[in-house]
Symmetry: D2
Subunit: 342 residues, 4 copies
């Protein structure tokens, strides 16, 4: 049986990435693509790399007949997403890729995003989309909130360690190296090739990045008490990839064993041998996340690394993985392509 799929906001990178992935899915068919500012254009004009596919033209959301659609991906900007989803049919399965339904508490949402939430009831209903840790709820969900790409990377490095208590919860530092596609298709000077390539820099310094809201929510829930981490992202001249270097206090071998055990049966989260570190080179374009652990020379300190592709495992791949669960498909459907290297 082929599921009918709509993608709202298909003119951005996560929308295009969904199309790329679904093109290889055995049981999904894209029947509607929206893009408000580019409505009327063919996808080939917006993304010529999809030229070989037979896709619907971009339309406005209000032109879509949702009655025949099985699942809708929302790849819209933050804030817009909640307003659109609020007005969609109540029985439509939705995977949202924006930040709008990640935080369960309306006050948290307002604190990090600066505006009151426009769909508080839906916010309560939404399931947090970190597949490996919310699998059963996602299977049963109507609305799944895709995680932040940085938030996903940090959680793959830390969740099993926090829930088992093998690290000091009060001294966790996440130093993230993020590729540029995470910023989306935004027209900003610092994202131009001339300004971004050949150098790198931190941004959102001092604990101001919005994905901290997700870390706080999830880690505190796991620990059963408030957990606050340090998190500094850096913009790196590459297009895809997030590398988390996580400094923790605890026994490195125990930390490695805890992660290896937690991910032993996971198809997409691969734990490297002790003492090895991952590279974003080795996950590009794929849905895999590589996790590694090393001991520092200083007793009692360990470093946990996690690497994934922000557009795939950090966003659209995660979304498809969740959609597979919601539709009763194989969880790995359309997602087993190897990374592209070189």
């Amino acid at each position: 049986m082929t599921h009918k799929i709509a993608i709202l906001g298909a003119s951005g990178y996560t929308g295009a990435e969904l199309v790329r992935l679904i093109a290889l899915h055995p049981n999904m068919e894209i029947v509607a693509l929206s893009g408000e500012r580019k409505a009327g254009m063919r996808m080939t004009e917006v993304f010529p790399h999809l030229r070989h596919l037979d896709l619907p033209a971009l339309c406005r959301i209000d032109e879509i007949d949702f009655s025949g659609i099985d699942l809708c991906f929302c790849a819209l900007p933050h804030k817009t997403s909640q307003e659109v989803i609020r007005d969609l049919p109540r029985d439509l399965k939705i995977v949202d890729l924006s930040a709008d339904f990640r935080l369960r508490d309306p006050a948290d949402y307002e604190k990090w995003y600066g505006n009151p939430h426009a769909a508080v009831e839906l916010q309560k209903e939404a399931v947090y989309g970190l597949t490996e840790f919310y699998r059963d709820q996602i299977r049963a969900a109507r609305l799944v909130a895709g995680t932040g790409c940085n938030a996903a990377t940090g959680q793959y490095a830390l969740r099993p360690l926090i829930s088992t208590g093998v690290i000091d919860l009060d001294d966790i530092i996440l130093d993230l190296k993020c590729a540029v596609s995470g910023a989306g298709r935004s027209l900003k000077e610092n994202l131009l090739h001339a300004e971004l390539s050949e150098g790198y820099n931190p941004y959102a310094i001092g604990g101001t990045h919005r994905h901290l809201g997700e870390f706080d929510q999830e880690f505190s829930a796991l620990a059963g008490r408030p957990v606050r981490v340090q998190f500094t992202p850096h913009l790196i001249p590459a297009n895809r990839g997030i590398l988390a270097t996580v400094y923790v206090k605890g026994d490195a071998r125990t930390i490695h064993d805890t992660l290896a055990a937690a991910y032993a049966d996971e198809p997409f989260i691969l734990t490297l041998p002790f003492g090895e570190a991952p590279s974003t080179h080795h996950v590009r374009g794929s849905n895999f996340c590589h996790v590694g652990v090393t001991a520092d020379r200083i007793e009692g300190r360990a470093i946990v690394f996690a690497a994934l592709d922000n557009l795939t495992k950090g966003s659209s791949g995660q979304a498809l993985q969740n959609a597979n669960l919601m539709l009763g498909e194989e969880e790995t459907g359309g997602l087993m392509m190897p990374p592209l290297f070189p």
Copy 2:
């Protein structure tokens, strides 16, 4: 039915690319991987991006039992390849990715490669592997010679024009822009990131590039008389891609129509609307080739563009496409993944 596949020379880029593609093929299984200098190592050590796959370890060629193997890809260096293939079982289907069997005439081979051919009989038997133009012979072949990646790109731009005679055969200029993976995993100073990135330059200038042997052979055969082209490759700071800018004399509309007609039913060769030019961005990691034509402002001159990924359509993807034909599989099996963008 699953075909048993061997890949000789699996520690280079074209070998790894074959593994990447075959991983998604419904009816192929890799049962042997050779790598003389890295024999004994696991593929994960040599190519950590393939970590999620269950692959045989690298071995020496003489350790492989070819009796159970249906088809063997040879991704060995030039010259080594002919010596190895000469000693393989006579009934083994082989797709060679080296330059060793591309030229039919032993004298041509020696002229361009500097040594006498070590397997002249096989050279005669080999079918030239430009799928779209040798489809029937490839289907029946035992030994197929993969084309040069630059040679493939130039031929997609020119073959239908030469065979129909719509351009001046004595004034053809190919200016190629080549990404670095075409040079393979060679340890040379000019291929280091520090020396290659941020700049670009011509190489093999003045009509000295070996792929000219293929152009001469193929274009002359098509025209029924000697055809010699100008060809200047340039090394560009990108990892995948070849862009051919081909300057010809003839009527641009006729040229476009000729190409569009020639490729109308091809699954992988896509002709753009008249006046549009392709980009290597839009074919990366895929088996597609985009072809475009524009008229110059000077009457009677046209420019033909062709863009493909040298590792996929220019090499390993082409090889798999040919293997599909040789094994009675769908020609497109394992090859329909969309390009990776961004």
Copy 3:
């Protein structure tokens, strides 16, 4: 004696490049910097790499007192430049980096730029700024028009060949490979790092690039009859550099000797030994232009290469070289820094 310098349009790349160069000039002092949209900001905010310099803040043009200024660089957008320069004091020395005064014929200007010229008298007065060929006129000029960066590169490869008649004037093809800073600080999707890096493509195809106006004007004047060339630029994922690959018909040795003789005494134009090709890697950040010649394998055909840095020799370095002449300074003042490699 220190000359007082103003730079209009200092918030773009050519403006910043002028500041970089003048910082090392022994006899120039920047006293005014304009930037309409960023007026009031310090240069450090706009270009943090200039943090160590003591520079005036950005202001509006109408805030500048030109009475104490010896020379004014105009790095404003096309069309704006002519309107601003029209209203500047008549005795102020000006080096314009825009396209506004490159074409002497108002009809040519309108043909290529789409609007009537707003300062036709000044257009007549302006001297074309290709230093090596207009040195005496520049020394005496009040208003010098900086050349297009592509136009400069092509002319270094071709002018001595056209004026001596050693090549066929009716069959000249310029295939240019251009780095991205030539597009300026424009916010366009195709200039984003995510979309530009890792691939490349032709643009302004078919003889539509505006720098053809300069080629037509200059080459025809040199030849004493109309000369029209083919010119196809390509956008390459690098920040600085233009490489011209010029296909001509003529004797390669004669061509090389002609260029070597023409540039024998030039401080910035270096002719490579016969058969060697230049690389943009080796001119980055410098005012040098490397020129090379090779014979093709086809008798009577040659390829001329020229490589320079579009922001330096192609634009701001050229402008400073001209300013030096206009102010009676050493022509090479502030311009002898070696290229940056790697």
Copy 4:
């Protein structure tokens, strides 16, 4: 008065960088360049970007007459350097860029470098070359040991904080992002453009990087008791630059004020306003180091950033700065060129 300069090991990146810098120095002249494996070649063949300079050809070290030389830069590999310097004239001023004389204690040297030191007496005599902190000793020195590039970056972020005691000495984490030229001109697969670009990864993890020897020596001496830091370097796809993100415990404002005061009169170390972070983009090709401080959202934690160009301030620029002091020149001679951006 012009000082006669020799550079040993001129065929590597730091050697070429010295030539680039000295080319602009008013009072230095290069009279000898050595390169054992490339002896007899002209520098233009090895580094075509230096084509415009009139330089001596590469020779073997034993061909150099040191009697007329005022100062010798040694840009040789580790271990070779100590053996060569041991045999140089005792009265020759030397700036060594290798690791051989950085550690004062022979046991420390052997621990980090794996072999006994071959010139223990010279090791004692050598002055550590971090100019801003050893200025007087360097002025009087005969042999100065250039620092590690990572070691320099970390020390600019931390030395004033450790000597004043404003941070917790037992909890210092340095997360470094390093460009590839720091690895030199080594032919390694992971340094190839095809393998390095488009991704990034940590290396020398777990406290195994040799520059830790310098941190231990210097920080412990400053504190008057053992100080051991955590240090994890990451390889980033860019050619020049080191960015240190340093996690410390202490009052962020006090930390900022301490650094600002320490560097108030330094020509090359610039402290950014509180809350701003530097970028390697803004120091490329220059001798400047930008230092920034922010408070984390967690009380009592601060993040210190330092950015410099590893080949300039981290190596050859530092070496020239020291040579200036040793020769009685202006400390900034040949070093005031602004960064190259974009």
